[in-house]
Structures are given as C-alpha cells and as structure tokens.
Symmetry: C2
Subunit: 335 residues, 2 copies
DNA sequence: TGATTAAATCGAACCGGTTCGATCAAACTG
DNA sequence: CAGTTTGATCGAACCGGTTCGATTTAATCA
C-alpha cells in the first residue's frame, strides 16, 4: 500500500503539503496540486482511514444500534440512513444488541472507541448509570423509537399514545367492549405510551378495562405467546385483542390458531407496527404503522447535520414526532 | 482519556513495558506487573482500539457482509457469529449491500481499510474483476450461502440441489406433474443448484418440464410477484408452484390470493428457506429449510480458527455443506 | 568467583496520517 | 523603496499504541 510519503516523494513536496492538498485543495497552488494529483494516481494512493481517524480523532463512520436488525421497522430505517450516509461519504456500522442492555452499552462503547462520527441509537437501557454514560458522550447522537426521559438528545419517533388510541377507538366503534391489551416492557416508552393510549381511550368512552385483560408480552415472541394463552384460557374471554407491537400480536394470532379460535369470527385482533409479509397473513391484520421511511430520513438528515456542523453543538436537542397511519385489515369484526 | 504514557509515568516504567505487560503478562516480572495493574486501574486506562489497529496492522473486528440483514436466514447466522465472536473478544460489524454488487465491493473495501481481522461474506458479485479482488485479499475470509466458482476460500452452505430435489419429489409423490418453478438470478449458485435439483428430479421421474412453467423471480419481491402473475394468467395453469426461495414463493402466494386462487385447493405451493412468522401464514407453506444455527456456528468457528491461527494460512480452503431439512406444511395437496 | 546465559526492561523507530507554527517569496501599502 | 500582508510550503510534533534490537539485571554454570 502506498503511503502519503510515497506521494510526497514522487511529487517532490512535503508530506504536509500533500495532506493539505487532499483535504483542502483550495489552499494549494495550481501547479503543486497538479503534481500531487499525478503522484497520487501514479502510486495509487488511498488514505488509510484508520490513520486518519487516529490523527483527526474522528472517523467517517456512523454507528447504528438497535435491538433487532431483523425487525423490518429497524430495517427500513437502517436502509434510509445507509443511503443518505453513503451519499455524504459516511459509512454505517450496524450493531444488534438483541435487546440486552449490557450488550447495547458494550456496543456503544465499542463504537465510541472507534471514534465514530455519530450514533443513531434506539435505546433500550434505562438505568441511571447508562443514561449518564450516554449523556456524557461528546458525539452527535440521534435517538429514535424509544424516547427515554433523562437523555437530552435529538429524538425521532412516532406518536405512540395516538397509535394505541387509534386502534382502541376503532375496536370501540366496532362495538367491542371486552378489549384485551398485550403490553410491552414497562421500561419502554413506546410500550407505556401505547398502553396509555389504550386506557385513556377506554376511559373516555366510559368503558372499564378488565384487569385480567391486560397481560405482559415483553415485546417478545415467547412472552407474547404466553400472555396470549393466558388471555385465551380465561372463562370470560375478550372479544378483541390489541397487541402493543407486531411480535406480541402475531404471537397471539398463533396462539389463537393453535387453540382453534378463528380470527376475526371468534376474536378480533389489531396491532401496532407492520411486519414483513403481512399481506399474506390470513387474516390481514388491522394495524397502525409508523412511517419508517420518513423516520429514517429525519434521523439521517438530523444526524449528518449534527456531524457536519460541529459548531452547532449548542443547538438544543429537538423532538420529531410523526403521526402513525391506520391501515385497515380484516382481522376486526363488528359485534 | 488516559494513554499508555500516563500509565507508564505513574507506574514508573517505560511505555514499552506497559505495552508488553498488557499484551503478554507472562514476560513481565510479578512486581512490575502489579505496579502496572495498579496504575492502569488508577488512571482508568483503556487501550485505544484505533491506535492498536494502526500499529498492529490488524483490528479485532470481523466484517459481516450480506445482501439483506433483514432476511431471517442471514439474521440467524449473524446472531450465531456475533455470539461466538463476542466470546472470543471480537466484534462484528454488519454491513448490508442490498444485493448490489458495487455496494458489496465498496463495503468489503471499507472493511479491509478498517483492517478487519476477518470477513464472513455471502457474495453476490460475480465478475472476474471482483473475484480477483476477493482472491487477492490477504485476510481470513469465510464465504457462505453462495458458492462462487473462482473464489478459493472456505465455504459454508447447504446442499441446494438436494433442497430443490426434495420439494420436487414431494410434489411428484402427491401426483403433481404440471409443476412450475420460480427461479432466482442465474448468476447465483443457490438459484441454479435449486433449479438443477428440480429439473434433475423431474427428468428422473420422466416428467417433462413445460418451459412456460419456468419463470424468473430474481429472488426479489417485485420480480417474484410478476413471475407468479405470468404463471397464473396462462390458460393451462400449473397445479403446483415451487419457489426457489422464500421471497418469490410468498410473492406467488400473494399473487394467488389476489387473483382468487386458493392454496392448496387450486394450486399447491412449496418453497425453500423459512421466513419469519411462517407459522401464522395460511396455509403453512411446505418448505425445505437450512440449519441456520449450524451454518452460523460453522462459519463462526472456521473464521475465528483462521484468525487465531494465522500460520495456518496455508491450510487449504474447505467446503462445509449441510443437509437441509424438509418441513411439511399444508400448502401442497394430493391430486 | 568470573564467565555465560537468561530474564526483565528500555529507547527509539514505526504505523500513516494531521495540524500548526515557522519560513520565505511574492504582492500590496503608503 | 522600506514595511507590511498575503499565500504557499515546510518541518516537526502529535495521535496512541506496537515492536524489536540494545542494555541492564539476575540467575546459572564451570
């Protein structure tokens, strides 16, 4: 591999001039610029990104940290960010914490060690120690999906309260009263907000929520399945189930199918967040989806704005909250 | 951030001794080792991975390059690799080429620039220039999924010919003769092998393949949908459709549903590779699945073996081919 | 006990860039 | 035309580690 010194020697200028010419051509005379360009081409010089990062104290890499890259929600956002970053000569490193807080922190630390230019982070951790850690980082960070109280950073997400409310209202309109709710982890903002949307709407409608109809699905497949089963074996069953996310809702659908309940004839089902191949799942689930493309776009632009305008570090963090969209399916029947 | 020089100063030894103590404690006396340990703890020293990589010419990162991290097939493998790597103090950088050859190459180049310790690569590119590029890299590489002629590297994958043959035989056993096949890109080994498995089995059974029943789905959703539509609008329709991968098969299912065909009553369907939530898709598709956990485990072990035994670079590349598994569903009916 | 060898430690060069103050010639000011 | 700017270039220090040959210290042997 050719180094900058090879170029300097061939162009008969100093190393510092080559470096300057490459990073700020305007400050070098036309003549030497030409010489250097030729030399670069002749030896096939490509700057070592590692050495650059070490010297500059910053790399051109962006860290992307989520709990599950396989989730199409995160996948769409990742793609948007990647495209935008690539167009601005940045490179996205994807890491997956599997939803584990310790691992998430380890990955963030790793990325920071790599002197990443910025971080797009869907936080799952919540203890004070972690918050302080994130807050103390001197790197542009855009948080998304989970709004965490205590993290003073840009945030991009959806109106989760509204998402829960929309589906609840829909079920109420169809005449449902015995509506069950499968929640997510109580430390997750999306989970609590969606649940609040549910309870608020029920209260507004003057319908009491049966405490047995609220079960914890942890946003995971196994917990969601178990929670759904608990709902389904009750003597007085709900007429509709509202899943706080795609995973728990589909786990519920599976449980229903296995027990021989038909959807929507026996029990209606609705969920928040889309899933791959939802169009071929029978019945098509009525859902509220987030505008992942828009979210990804905002995250990307905001993050790169912060990265390329370091002086604007004083710019106060801002929240971007998008309105989710209702997508009717045929999993909810009128009763 | 504390540097190694801070440690050296505090421990009253030279920088080189600190470095040695950290990388090879056995070669340092007990006494100084203690002093250094204390100093490290006192100043909170953590080695800068960038500086280490630059000096060593190698980092402790592993590059993972696939066409679609959202695909659960790759997701499972990624998880296995990640777990194993983490246990061996390596860190996985995930990159997604979106199936684009140019981007794939750019990502590999980027990872090489980062002096990654090794690469797990599901290659999609195929031009000679790219092959030479891969072949010329002086880094441990384990290829998987796609066996590419011309890449002399370890390879981990499944018996794709058998996968195609298994499903074809199953359909033949059920009495089907008018079997359609939705292929993948002809430059992909998995696609051609699965197709060969189909045609060979058909030939062995003495059943002629109707050329109109072989359509190209490109392994993508849009092309798969279009291909399926082409099959379904023919006056003489197939009685069964075999999708060369999950994407094209489910696209076919969607097309069937939209045109009002029932599966399996009107047309049977089978596919290669699982998909998330296949258990709630109606009907449950009969499929042949790869043992993703085993594949991931082999990839991980092989790659880390190569990384930690650099002297064994002479060890010739080896192929690991696993047998896929038949998973019956209810999407294929006897006729 | 002096010579030989092994173990522990050190100094300096190096990895491949960036950055900033110094230098010097050319251009501008009054 | 002396004095000051301005622009181009350079040298050296630096980022934060690693590595290897040299040197010092300790242990072994005759």
């Amino acid at each position: 591999m050719a180094t900058i010194r090879d170029v300097a020697k061939l162009a008969d200028v100093s190393v510092s001039t080559v470096s300057l010419a490459l990073s700020n051509p305007a400050r070098v005379s036309q003549k030497t610029l030409e010489k250097i360009r030729h030399a670069v081409a002749a030896v096939g010089f490509v700057a070592d990104p590692l050495a650059q990062s070490l010297a500059r104290g910053r790399s051109r890499m962006i860290g992307f940290v989520v709990g599950n890259v396989g989730n199409p929600f995160f996948g769409d956002i990742r793609r948007e960010l990647e495209n935008y970053a690539l167009d601005h000569s940045h490179f996205v490193l994807v890491t997956d914490s599997s939803g584990k807080t310790v691992r998430e922190r380890a990955m963030v630390e790793h990325l920071i060690g790599l002197k990443t230019a910025g971080l797009a982070l869907a936080p799952s951790g919540h203890d004070q120690d972690y918050l302080d850690f994130i807050g103390g980082l001197n790197v542009p960070i855009v948080c998304f999906d989970q709004k965490v109280a205590g993290i003073e950073r840009d945030f991009v997400g959806s109106d989760n309260h509204l998402a829960g409310a929309m589906l609840t209202e829909h079920l109420l309109q169809l005449g449902h009263r015995r509506i069950a709710f499968i929640t997510g982890p109580s430390h997750m903002h999306t989970a609590t907000e969606r649940y609040r949307g549910f309870t608020d709407t029920m209260a507004n409608a003057g319908v009491e929520v049966n405490p047995n109809f609220v079960v914890d699905g942890q946003f995971t497949r196994t917990a969601g399945y178990e929670a759904a089963m608990r709902l389904l074996i009750q003597p007085e069953r709900p007429t509709a189930i509202l899943g706080a996310n795609n995973t728990v809702a589909l786990s519920a659908l599976q449980a229903m199918q296995e027990l021989g309940f038909r959807c929507p004839e026996d029990i209606s089902l609705a969920m928040i967040d889309n899933v791959q191949w939802s169009s071929v799942i029978t019945p098509r689930i009525t859902m509220v989806v987030q505008d992942t493309l828009a979210l990804g776009g905002i995250i990307a632009r905001r993050l790169l704005h912060r990265i390329t305008n370091p002086q604007g570090a004083v710019e106060p963090p801002q929240d971007f909250v998008l309105t989710p969209k209702f997508v009717p399916g045929n999993s909810c029947r009128r009763i």
